[in-house]
């Protein structure tokens, strides 16, 4: 598909000299003549030259803004076409563990999904939308068995994946609230995370920087993790209570919020000091908790001792930002008559906490300590949810310390810890598993929801999950543009995508921090996609922007046109019945009528379950 019809010379336009500089230069050279009344003709000439320069600058700026840059896609050979052997062996261990569980439950594994389905899943997980037609065409040129791996590697090098994952982590760590206006910069925080994901900074280092952050929220964007909890009206200290809850949920998958007010009466929060000594991470025993492990129920002090780590964090001077002082945390526990001073300490595995350093340093080292398995489990569970649309353990941020753990979790967590907390390796490993590559259709239709649900619960089939709002929006937008919208796209294209997705997501209903909880679709959501301007603008007759019009006008053969439309939208070939039905719609149409008929085909596809669900 040759869409790069912008003349190549546009890529080589030298940096544009800002109009202000041009004016300044002219002025410095000739201001004496202008100011001192040199002949009017010369002044007019200079004025024209100035205007001409500004005009050229503007045109060049527009050309720069609308022109595409060189794409990675143009050099597919630079992308690795296979995963590291150690990744394959870990993936096989995960598969073996999950397969054993499937066998134990007398379930049948689904067949492997085809490459179309697989690459769409990878796209949705890593960049939040399906593949563009351009990308589908590139993949078609590669050997079929290499496509999924190549596509994963390609996206891991693509800034889009860093941005998208950073947004997911931002929701987990600071939520979706706007936060205090003056002292919280969400965008900077997302960019900082994305930069670190792109660079491959070990995840434990990222988390330690978040917990230990000091300074200004603009100079050190990680500080926003703390300032997000500050009160605009009393902006001296981050909220230690909220930070304790966030830290424990986002980084350790421990929901201890109820301990803020009382001891755990429901047996939901248990702590254990047992370390997993089993390094044989291929065996089934890894997945089963040791019954000998001594648990204790959470107490109110566990929460507040954790919160106390943040109590010394202050901002006396906004220009200096956050700094540390001695922790000072007091609480009147339930049923106590007086306040008690609380010393910072952690609820389990206290021996992993260093003895020296300031309180947040101690906490960050303990949270990310390789022997604190909860850290790796929490990360694996979140990444699994991003890739499958559903976590291994639900709810996402609540994994009991002493298990039971679902098959595969401990193996992945162990590998994550032992390999430098490398998020990209974790993604590769999960993608490499047969579990991820399974079809979402069962081998045989059972007609029983319970049976199908059981297959999903044990990962015998790929789970069917509803796309999140931003995935629906970005997928619609990308399907209606033939070219991939990525870092190499013009700034106009990227702004159109960014603005469109934000507006659509707001109208569709953002799920906020709770984005992996499945919700049923609502009438307004259906009306928005059926009748809203977001879709109608993108499928109407528009020979410059819209894929439907361009396919209708450039692909004369009806069958080829329908096939192309399916690749652009659902990233697959149409079935025979679909091909026949839609060819009938196109039959004999020309010009605008053909474009509108193709727009209607796009409408039907975009409004389908298949388009709006991950499968």
């Amino acid at each position: 598909m040759s869409e790069n019809n912008v003349p190549p010379f546009l890529d080589r336009i030298p940096p544009v000299m800002p109009p202000v500089l041009i004016a300044a230069d002219l002025n410095s050279a000739g201001n004496a003549s202008v100011l001192h009344g040199l002949p009017q003709k010369e002044a007019r000439w200079k004025k024209r030259l100035l205007l001409l320069s500004i005009g050229i600058s503007l045109l060049a700026s527009i050309a720069w803004a609308t022109s595409p840059r060189a794409k990675l896609l143009h050099a597919p050979e630079t992308i690795a076409s296979g995963f590291d052997a150690s990744i394959h062996s870990v993936a096989r261990l995960v598969d073996n563990a999950i397969d054993a569980d499937i066998t134990d439950h007398n379930l049948e594994k689904a067949n492997a999904a085809n490459w179309h389905t697989l690459t769409r899943r990878i796209s949705l997980a890593l960049i939040g939308n399906g593949l563009s037609l351009e990308e589908m065409r590139v993949l078609e040129q590669l050997p079929e068995d290499k496509r999924a791996v190549w596509w994963t590697e390609y996206l891991l090098k693509d800034r889009r994946s860093s941005d998208y994952l950073a947004e997911r982590w931002t929701r987990a760590t600071v939520g979706t609230n706007n936060g205090p206006f003056l002292i919280f910069r969400r965008r900077k925080y997302v960019d900082w995370l994305a930069d670190n994901f792109e660079k491959g900074t070990p995840y434990d280092v990222v988390v330690r920087e978040l917990i230990e952050a000091k300074g200004s929220w603009t100079d050190a964007p990680q500080v926003n993790f703390l300032t997000a909890t500050m009160d605009e009206n009393d902006n001296k200290k981050p909220d230690a209570i909220r930070l304790a809850g966030r830290t424990s949920r986002a980084f350790l998958a421990q929901r201890i919020d109820c301990l803020q007010c009382h001891h755990d009466y429901l047996g939901k929060v248990n702590f254990t000091d047992a370390l997993s000594e089993n390094d044989d991470h291929g065996t089934e025993s890894m997945e089963t908790p040791s019954t000998a492990v001594a648990n204790r129920t959470g107490e109110q002090s566990d929460f507040h001792q954790l919160a106390a780590f943040f109590s010394g964090t202050k901002m006396d001077n906004p220009f200096v930002g956050l700094h540390n002082s001695a922790p000072d945390y007091r609480i009147k526990y339930l049923n106590d008559e007086n306040e008690s001073k609380v010393t910072p300490t952690v609820p389990y595995l206290r021996e992993l906490m260093p003895e020296t350093g300031d309180s947040r340093h101690k906490l960050s080292v303990w949270v990310t300590h390789p022997k604190n398995k909860a850290f790796a489990r929490a990360t694996v569970n979140r990444m699994w949810a991003i890739l499958f649309g559903k976590p291994l353990v639900e709810p996402l941020d609540s994994i009991p310390l002493s298990g039971p753990f679902p098959p595969g979790l401990e193996i992945l967590a162990e590998d994550f810890s032992k390999n430098g907390h490398d998020l990209k390796r974790l993604i590769r490993t999960i993608v490499c598993t047969d579990v991820f590559q399974r079809d979402s259709r069962m081998l045989k239709e059972t007609g029983s929801e319970a049976v199908e649900q059981e297959h999903e619960d044990h990962w015998a089939i790929f789970p069917l999950t509803q796309l999140r709002p931003e995935q629906v929006a970005a997928s619609i937008h990308q399907a209606c543009r033939l070219i991939a919208i990525d870092e190499s796209s013009s700034i106009v294209s990227r702004l159109e995508l960014f603005g469109g997705v934000n507006d659509f997501t707001k109208a569709y209903g953002d799920q906020g921090d709770d984005e992996f909880t499945q919700q049923s679709i609502t009438i307004p959501q259906r009306l928005l996609v059926m009748n809203g301007s977001f879709v109608s603008e993108r499928i109407k007759h528009n020979p410059i922007m819209n894929a439907a019009t361009r396919i209708a006008s450039l692909v004369r053969d009806d069958q080829e046109a329908v096939k192309t439309a399916y690749l652009a939208t659902l990233n697959r070939e149409p079935s025979g019945a679909e091909l026949n039905a839609f060819c009938e719609r196109l039959k004999g149409t020309k010009g605008t009528a053909r474009s509108e008929a193709m727009g209607s085909i796009f409408w039907a596809i975009i409004n389908s379950t298949e388009f709006q669900w991950n499968h």
Partner: protein
């Protein structure tokens, strides 16, 4: 007043009128093979049947005093109690506001609400609302849901809870938010299906309700969607994939039904006389209040109408006065019209914001956030008429460690919610299983019995 929640659940399915709107429509869709062909586009055929079913459902109620609908006039930003319902003129905290007599002996409210003063004999006024949240977003969440924000769980707004606990047979959403701002009412853990349907100024058409293509094109598209693309996706999957899992096709059908429903006309206030429209004031909020009445008439359970702009950290008096002028005409006409149409007995009107404003006036002539001792007005349903509950002091007092000092007959946010749910006959102490595996009651507050007639 006896809670009816248990009755609602145990009666399901015993008679036609007990079927939920949802089941009713699902069956119709499943058996209506021609649904996607647009057959429903041109019909409002079930509207009357739906009305009868709804009436049958309502007639089962054992308690005649049970409220049916809730209208929330949401004052986003924090209206000042001192410039609205709790003035303290001639005191250090009073500012420029004076107090005027109302239709209730001995009750005086701010001079910014002269028309409202005439309908206070319909209302119960609470002057002792107390919250623990002083941030707009958190306080809004608290006031709309009755719960303080909990990062592990999103609680449903009260309108969602009422819809969840009741049955209706209407073709338009039962929970509506008019002029919804940044934080509209959400279904939370009860599901996004109970989110408020958001609309703008009623003078404008409803968003996304009209297809941008002609009827024939839409019919063809729906046929292709159902008979071509959906069929292919269902192949080899659950026979009742939609019914048991995705609900995607059902939602399409419901949306299509709504597009063609006569009940949609409830959103259109132009059917009202000019004098009625004018009485609400020439602004979006007034039109929203009128639309709320029309929606209630159609059987909508909860309508929220938002008036923003109350966050007056500077020039408090002039800005609050401006907002009050809009609120005054609309609130007065809303109560009068509900009464005139015989709806006030079964409709509760609640007017208030997320918190009040400080007694002290700051350096910019503004008042800041004040969650301890602000006002909320209730009217209709089983609530007392012409009743005042609670009191704040006109003294600037040093509260020390007691933020509630000087407030009498305190009403906490959760108490207000418990009381409202009780007014709807909902057993708010009943626990539901939440997604985090923790059973949770619908409200943790206590009923304020003295508010009921």
């Amino acid at each position: 007043m006896e809670p009816l929640a248990g009755t609602i659940e145990s009666n399901l399915g015993k008679e036609p009128g007990c079927e939920s709107w949802w089941n009713f429509h699902r069956r119709r869709f499943l058996h209506g093979g021609a649904m996607a062909t647009g057959g429903l586009l041109s019909q409002g055929m079930l509207t009357k049947i739906a009305e009868r079913l709804s009436m049958a459902s309502e007639s089962r109620q054992s308690n005649k005093m049970r409220a049916k609908s809730l209208i929330i006039l949401w004052m986003q930003g924090g209206p000042s109690q001192l410039e609205t319902f709790d003035p303290h003129p001639d005191s250090k905290i009073g500012g420029e506001t004076t107090a005027i007599k109302t239709s209730v002996d001995g009750l005086r409210i701010a001079d910014t609400l002269p028309q409202t003063a005439e309908i206070m004999h319909y209302a119960t006024l609470i002057r002792s609302m107390v919250s623990k949240e002083g941030d707009h977003e958190r306080a809004t969440y608290n006031m709309k849901t009755g719960w303080r924000p909990d990062p592990t769980l999103i609680h449903p707004a009260i309108g969602s809870v009422i819809c969840h606990q009741t049955e209706d047979n209407i073709e338009i959403p039962r929970h509506v938010s008019i002029l919804s701002g940044q934080w509209p009412a959400r279904g939370g853990y009860m599901g996004s299906a109970l989110d408020a349907f958001q609309t703008g100024d009623p003078k404008d058409p409803l968003p996304n309700l009209k297809s941008y293509t002609d009827k024939k094109v839409l019919e063809n598209r729906l046929v292709d969607l159902k008979s071509v693309v959906e069929v292919e996706f269902r192949r080899g999957r659950l026979r009742d994939l939609d019914k048991n899992k995705t609900l995607h096709e059902s939602s399409t059908s419901r949306a299509t039904t709504m597009m063609a429903s006569d009940q949609i006309k409830a959103f259109d206030i132009t059917a009202e006389s000019k004098s009625v429209i004018d009485s609400f004031g020439d602004h979006a909020f007034g039109r929203g209040c009128l639309a709320a009445i029309r929606l209630i008439e159609q059987g909508v359970r909860c309508v929220e109408v938002e008036l923003s702009g109350w966050d007056t950290h500077a020039e408090n008096y002039s800005l609050q006065s401006g907002r009050c002028k809009i609120l005054d005409a609309a609130l007065h006409s809303l109560i009068k019209q509900l009464d005139a149409r015989g709806l006030l007995d079964q409709t509760i009107v609640m007017c208030g914001g997320e918190f009040g404003r400080t007694p002290t006036i700051n350096i910019a002539n503004g008042r800041d956030h004040w969650p301890t001792g602000f006002s909320t007005l209730l009217a209709g349903g089983p609530f007392r008429a012409g009743h005042l509950h609670g009191q704040t002091t006109h003294e600037v007092i040093e509260r020390g460690n007691d933020p509630l000092k000087g407030i009498e007959d305190i009403v906490r946010i959760e108490d207000l919610h418990a009381t409202l749910l009780h007014a709807f006959g909902v057993d708010f102490a009943k626990e539901l299983q939440t997604p985090i595996g923790r059973p949770l009651s619908l409200s943790k507050g206590n009923i304020i019995e003295s508010l009921f007639a």
